[in-house]
């Protein structure tokens, strides 16, 4: 019985994630708008800092700042799709559990954010002349996975909170950015270690990945509990 219900829960999560990814895939907003936006942010950083040495030093931070800015757009998209035709209410009326919706939408966000980050990492390597070792690549990937989970959970939670309200476009950055500060700190330090920037060593990054993991677990657990009351109206 238990295994059966957890099986159906997973099915719900998967089908909601699949729906979101399909919507994105068909609209191509991620590839045609968000990714180019992230790219232009990376180029603007180069204009603003105007020094290759500094760019190499701060590349990890810039990658994650660009990720956070793009994430705001992606989260807004994710909920604009739901609220446009009252789709979120329809899902609830159909008896889909709130935590199912939460994890489903989070999973779809994770996929999108991961793609975006992978792109930004490559852009940083090419544009900012960053060199990376083989262990560094593994560390960067683990960092991306851990950070993506945390960002997706928080994004879904606060996106759901602002969903359906007027003025959410301006409110979301104010709510979201302070909450994801730990991710920015942890992911930047871990990526610094992976890039061996600022005199760091690859081995120094794993502790920060631990922080990212804790963040993801905490907001995954709390998000699945708090999401229901937020969208039940």
């Amino acid at each position: 019985m238990t295994s059966n219900s957890s099986h159906s829960r997973w099915k719900v999560v998967r089908s909601i994630a699949r729906k979101d990814v399909l919507v994105e895939w068909n609209s191509r907003v991620l590839t045609n708008q968000v990714a180019p936006f992230a790219l232009v942010v990376m180029i603007m950083f180069a204009f603003a800092l105007d020094n290759e040495g500094i760019l190499q030093r701060v590349a990890p931070g810039l990658v994650w700042l660009a990720t956070l800015f793009s994430m705001l757009v992606v989260v807004q998209r994710s909920f604009a799709v739901e609220t446009a035709d009252g789709a979120l209410d329809a899902l609830r009326v159909a008896g889909v559990s709130p935590s199912g919706i939460f994890f489903g939408k989070s999973l779809a966000l994770m996929v999108q954010l991961f793609v975006l980050q992978a792109l930004l990492m490559v852009v940083a390597l090419v544009l900012y002349n960053v060199e990376i070792s083989a262990v560094g690549v593994i560390e960067a990937i683990v960092t991306m996975v851990a950070a993506t989970c945390g960002l997706a959970f928080v994004g879904t939670l606060y996106g759901g909170l602002a969903a359906g309200a007027r003025g959410r476009e301006t409110l979301l950055p104010l709510l979201l950015l302070p909450v994801v500060a730990p991710v920015l700190i942890g992911a930047t330090r871990a990526t610094e270690a992976a890039f061996e920037a600022a005199g760091t060593n690859v081995s120094e990054g794993w502790a920060w990945i631990g922080l990212l993991g804790v963040f993801a677990v905490v907001f995954g657990a709390v998000g699945s509990l708090a999401f229901g009351p937020l969208i039940d109206e």
């Binding site: 909170l161 709510l175 302070p178 942890g186 708090a226 109206e233």
Partner: protein
């Protein structure tokens, strides 16, 4: 014959957020604050190292303590709202009022702190873990207040902001912990540590605690007023429709 509109005008005109009790509370807070000012500025001694700048402490420290208390109270009231069976909106109004005052007090503490820092450290701001976390605390509750103004029904506002207030309780320690980690690995000798190990003499300590009591009474007084103010706002928005209908009816009577 008075129309509902005129009655409403009378109600809003005479409705006050004060009572005899709150007036006494207000007078008490004025008296306590005055006493704090007198003791803090004129009677208490200068600090051996910091000189007169130590006097900022009598505002800086109590305001941040009261702000913490206000935010904790917001969380408690939010939890009561979410867990209660009848879900009285009064809990929501008190939460909102408390957060508003908390934001005001954090702002006061940040401003007085950076003024003190300018004189003592020579800079308005240092990237110290506690300062940075406090700035985050400030922004988080500004966000909370913005969510309260999102619109929708009062029930929606109450639920949204209650969940957010509880999330803030979770978020703030996480932010504080990671900022401390960030600083501990990256900062050179911190100026923030200098002068924190001051020994307070009897009168200074007394003035500090008097300040705490004075600002707490001020907080309670403001809380009563703001909470009733929000209740009046809510009542007005409830009656807005009735008034509009009455206005229409009055127009047709004239014709």
């Amino acid at each position: 014959m008075k129309t509902a509109l005129q009655k409403e005008a009378v109600v809003t005109h005479t409705a006050s957020t004060g009572t005899a009790a709150t007036r006494r509370l207000g007078l008490l807070s004025i008296a306590l604050l005055t006493l704090t000012v007198v003791l803090g500025l004129f009677v208490s001694d200068e600090d051996v190292i910091q000189g007169s700048t130590v006097r900022i402490m009598y505002v800086h420290v109590p305001t941040i303590w009261v702000a913490y208390m206000a935010f904790a109270f917001t969380a408690v009231c939010s939890a009561i709202y979410l867990s209660g069976k009848n879900r009285s909106l009064a809990w929501d109004r008190v939460s909102g009022a408390s957060a508003e005052i908390g934001v005001l007090f954090v702002a006061t503490s940040l401003v007085t702190g950076s003024l003190w820092g300018r004189i003592t450290w020579g800079t308005y701001w240092v990237w110290d873990a506690r300062l940075t976390s406090t700035a985050f605390l400030f922004i988080t509750y500004i966000g909370y207040l913005a969510v309260r103004r999102l619109g929708g029904t009062q029930r929606q506002r109450a639920k949204r902001s209650a969940v957010l207030a509880l999330l803030a309780v979770l978020e703030i320690p996480l932010v504080h912990f990671s900022v401390r980690l960030w600083r501990s690995l990256h900062q050179e000798a911190s100026v923030a540590n200098r002068g924190t190990d001051v020994k307070l003499d009897g009168l200074m300590l007394f003035t500090l605690f008097l300040g705490l009591v004075a600002f707490t009474v001020l907080y309670v007084w403001m809380l009563f007023h703001r909470q009733r103010g929000i209740a009046l706002e809510d009542a007005m928005s409830d009656k807005g429709l009735d008034i509009a209908i009455e206005q229409r009816r009055a127009e047709s009577m004239v014709k």
